[in-house]
């Protein structure tokens, strides 16, 4: 599936969070164990912006299995957009932390080819204000 389509499907399902932390963060999420935390990992297997070199052990790393072993409440892998659309409502109701590994193609646009957006400082304050107001 294309990552843009996956993002659109997730937004339509009103996901709260879209986070791709490093593997070192996995034990921390297990410790905090937020029930409403869904961790969506876009797995295209490459370092796309630097020329699509394969990540170490590309294609043979089982991220869902790794996070399951680390103690996530539920993990799964989804390979097609259709499967994502069907399963997403149920996944959003599962008690977290949840990991969803999405097998995606390379994106058409990246921050390198389509830079823009507000500076990080502006995004931080906007999100902070929105959360403080209950939005």
């Amino acid at each position: 599936m294309r990552p843009e389509d996956a993002l659109r499907a997730i937004n339509e399902a009103r996901a709260d969070a879209l986070v791709v932390p490093t593997m070192t963060a996995v034990p921390e999420w297990r410790t905090i164990a937020p029930a409403n935390y869904m961790h969506v990992l876009f797995a295209n297997g490459v370092y796309q912006t630097s020329g699509s070199q394969g990540i170490p052990a590309s294609g043979s790393v089982d991220f869902a299995g790794m996070t399951e072993a680390a103690g996530y409440a539920f993990t799964t892998r989804i390979d097609t957009l259709e499967e994502l659309r069907i399963r997403l409502p149920e996944l959003l109701s599962v008690r977290g932390p949840v990991l969803v590994e999405l097998a995606v193609e390379e994106a058409e646009l990246t921050p390198m080819t389509a830079p823009g957006g507000d500076p990080l400082r502006v995004q931080v304050e906007r999100l902070r204000e929105r959360l403080a107001s209950g939005g």
């Binding site: 500076p119 400082r121 931080v124």
Partner: protein, 182 residues
């Protein structure tokens, strides 16, 4: 206080609480911590970590790396929580790119207690033969991060002062812990 007396851990915990209370707009709600302490365990501050483990008002979270601690601190700040980091100088060096990206570019007030492990008490940090100790302050100067040195209980006011400074500047601020805590 004798110059060689180590600061008791409970006093540092109380100083952290004072720092958090000084910034909170409202008291903590039922079940909500007064603030969070994110730790990548520092040998220098091990007595403080032990004290925090038994504290009912603060929530201690042990992090895998200082990079993760910075990112989690940013998330907690965005969510409206009070948060401090407790790390070691080696971790400060290791996470300086995150400190720059999240703290400086993101405008996130990252406050950290940073242990100067192996610092010689009779020497100023900048005179230490140990590079890890000697360059920690200049490293923060390079990034225009305000920093101070905690050595005796008379310096405890630096904790709420620099915590408030991080909020005021919307950026990092560091208090180096110059001696092992008691």
């Amino acid at each position: 206080m004798p110059q060689n007396e180590r600061i008791p851990a409970p006093l540092i915990v109380e100083a952290l609480k004072a720092a958090f209370r000084g910034q909170r707009a409202n008291p903590a709600k039922e079940g909500e911590p007064l603030g969070w302490v994110l730790s990548v365990p520092d040998t220098h501050q091990r007595s403080v970590i032990a004290e925090l483990e038994g504290d009912n008002e603060l929530r201690l979270l042990t992090c895998s790396t200082e990079d993760e601690a910075n990112a989690i601190a940013a998330g907690l700040y965005i969510g409206g929580a009070e948060v401090a980091l407790m790390i070691q100088h080696a971790g400060l060096y290791a996470s300086v790119n995150t400190l720059r990206g999240v703290g400086l570019d993101g405008g996130v007030p990252l406050f950290a207690l940073v242990g100067l492990l192996s610092r010689e008490p009779e020497l100023e940090p900048e005179d230490s033969p140990r590079s890890m100790v000697r360059f920690a302050g200049p490293l923060m100067d390079t990034f225009d991060v305000p920093h101070a040195l905690l050595e005796t209980r008379d310096d405890l006011g630096l904790i709420p002062e620099y915590y408030a400074l991080s909020r005021k500047r919307s950026g990092p601020a560091v208090v180096f812990v110059g001696r092992e805590t008691a």
